[in-house]
Symmetry: C2
Subunit: 277 residues, 2 copies
């Protein structure tokens, strides 16, 4: 396991400590450091945006706390949901009186805990709304969009809903804008190597040298195609064919393109893929 | 070779095409796209900062072209110096009448070509000065500082000299500031796996699973210690002991800390290392 860590059980806590040390614009909102918010939270009259989920995906989620983005994040263990108490701690810390929007990926554990936190928030007089990111076209067909996994596409939702909240839109408006942005977003992932959980020390699946898997999930969920590694052009064509069809795009329409890796893809290969797509 | 590329020979050109497509604040200053400058270059009366070197190190070098940083970059092939013509193209494009400072790493091929470009610039009436980054403490002892390799520490020089140039300092002043920043910067690298050149398809050296190499260079130059992979705390102690001694730091002095990877280190491990250092 080629990882620079200390004790696997301390991995997430030490990552958060490092983020807080590196970014004075963030502060912890819970004693366990698993709720992190903008240092200037709460902002009176502003809709608060809270995201969260398991660790192991940086910059998702904690990297998207900032001006014009999310106000707070709840940070779970590696690939595990944060607890309802952690989500609630973030909620309370960012609540400026205009309600709080939950923006996160469509995963069962996260939904369970964010929903519980929403009950706690309601009991405390903080209205909440929820928009789930569900952008991964490989995880369910167009007739079952709401069953899709949320992956990189949620970054657009953070940015667009974050801008709406920053300019003072109310909770219903920010929620509608976030939902519309999410509904018009489609993504597809390709993996060349498996991930290794610090606690397990073993790959989550195997993929031979020279193989690629298309449609792979952010936690190594199985994709829809496995075969020999192809050129960047062919991979981009594969991805775009499916995404363009899914969004029913017509020639001349303007789109925003996000090319990202899952942590270990060199920047060069991401730029190269941008050129070919 | 787990790389998302097309033809290895097109690798660098396609990376640059992607950067230009993604960043409208940049523009090409040569037909071969290997000189890239700020879109608003030249800025009249401002000292121009030009950097450059081989490809394969993003965000070094092209990622540091922007406001308050460098004005232009010359982009070589993977781990190869740009040509003098490419450096000169960047020089000419950023020259706003106040001279141009060359800021780059201490490597023979780069020195050769930047020096040639400087001759071309002088012939064209553009004064230049040069500051070499030489921050890697593992590459030469304190008595031979000027023989050191330039690695991540040059980012501080870009930032500090870039700020001086942005506020209107003249060439002699920006040069002196860059030199002073560089002289007070020390870095050390640790590698857990070798790099693979797209054209070669083979690792540049071998490192067994579970091993680490301390003092490794940015191109895989041999380090000063190889042994079993240690914890993040132990690695940080190793690095800091050497860096603190080299800079002759005393308790209470303030320092800027940069923790970076060489392209494939997940953000989590970098933040974790920040917490432990």
């Amino acid at each position: 396991m080629r990882k620079i860590i200390n004790v696997p059980g301390d991995f997430v806590d030490e990552v958060v400590e490092g983020m807080l040390a590196a970014h004075p614009e963030l502060r912890a909102a819970s004693a366990d450091l698993r709720a992190v918010v903008r240092a200037d939270a709460p902002r009176p009259g502003k809709v608060g945006l809270v995201t969260g989920g398991g660790s192991g995906h940086l910059p998702v989620f904690a990297g998207y706390v900032g001006r014009g983005l999310c106000d707070g994040v709840a940070i779970g263990n590696v690939f595990s949901s944060p607890s309802a108490a952690q989500v609630y701690a973030a909620t309370e810390a960012v609540s400026g009186g205009a309600g709080v929007l939950y923006l996160y990926g469509n995963y069962g554990g996260d939904i369970y805990n964010f929903d519980l936190a929403s009950d706690l928030a309601r009991a405390a007089g903080i209205p909440t709304a929820t928009v789930l990111a569900a952008d991964d076209v490989a995880s369910a067909g167009p007739e079952r969009r709401s069953a899709r996994r949320g992956v990189a596409g949620m970054v657009f939702t953070f940015k667009i809903a974050g801008a709406a909240a920053e300019r003072g839109d109310d909770l219903a408006t920010v929620t509608a804008i976030a939902r519309r942005a999410g509904a018009r977003t489609a993504t597809l992932g390709v993996g060349l190597s498996p991930t290794i959980l610090p606690a397990a020390g073993q790959p989550t699946f195997t993929l031979d040298e020279g193989e690629m898997e298309v449609g792979i999930g952010i936690h190594g969920e199985p994709g829809v195609h496995r075969g020999p590694l192809e050129t960047a052009d062919t991979i981009a064509d594969r991805m775009l064919d499916q995404i363009v069809a899914d969004l029913d795009l017509a020639a001349g329409q303007r789109v925003g393109v996000l090319v990202n890796g899952l942590g270990a893809t060199p920047l060069e290969e991401l730029y190269l893929s941008s050129a070919t797509s």
